[in-house]
Symmetry: C2
Subunit: 114 residues, 2 copies
């Protein structure tokens, strides 16, 4: 998508601090971190939201979560714990219309989750 911020990060047209990459996904640090570790994992193909995941793209979830597990190890939060969050649509405050999984750790996270 030409106007998509995250597609432009995938294409390296906009800079980001990349922490993980493979052929399916890219992960980079959130520009407005809400915890000592705050990384976004996105699928490289453009998918706007959870609701727009079609059956043929559902396999991307496995790739996204494999990356999240790897990132938790890299960032050394797999022992202390972490929260994974996906916002979908207006009530959740989804800020960029390209699917992304937030990985938050390095501090105690409270309940409710927003």
């Amino acid at each position: 998508m030409v106007d998509c911020l995250f597609c432009q990060i995938v294409q390296r047209k906009i800079p980001a601090t990349v922490v993980f990459e493979n052929e399916h996904v890219l992960a980079f640090r959130d520009m407005h971190p809400q915890a000592p570790v705050h990384v976004l994992v996105i699928p490289k193909p453009h998918v706007s939201s959870v609701s727009e995941m079609t059956p043929e793209k559902m396999g991307l979830w496995e790739k996204i979560y494999q990356a999240a597990q790897q990132i938790a190890k890299q960032e050394q939060i797999d022992g202390s714990g972490f929260r994974l969050v996906v916002n979908n649509g207006p009530n959740a405050g989804q800020a960029v219309a390209h699917l992304h999984l937030h990985v938050l750790g390095g501090r105690r996270l409270t309940w409710p989750p927003g």
Copy 2:
């Protein structure tokens, strides 16, 4: 797992308000709801946490998210928006050691997510 609360819900030994079920996953209302809609989606096989997802079980993520999309439609929060949350380990406050995806909607969710 004999002593797992959620395995016992899967086996119908402990009651829950089930909203969705297929051969792979079960979904039921959270006993301590944090939003007008608050449903938990769990895989039927016992997996204790994100960190314990093995390569051969990773396909469960697709099943969990397919269910979440279906539940968002059933609960009529797919238009207004919803937040999906997975807690892993102590810092996230994971309360039951059986993997579960929280589906929260029906109100504006704030940021940060806990």
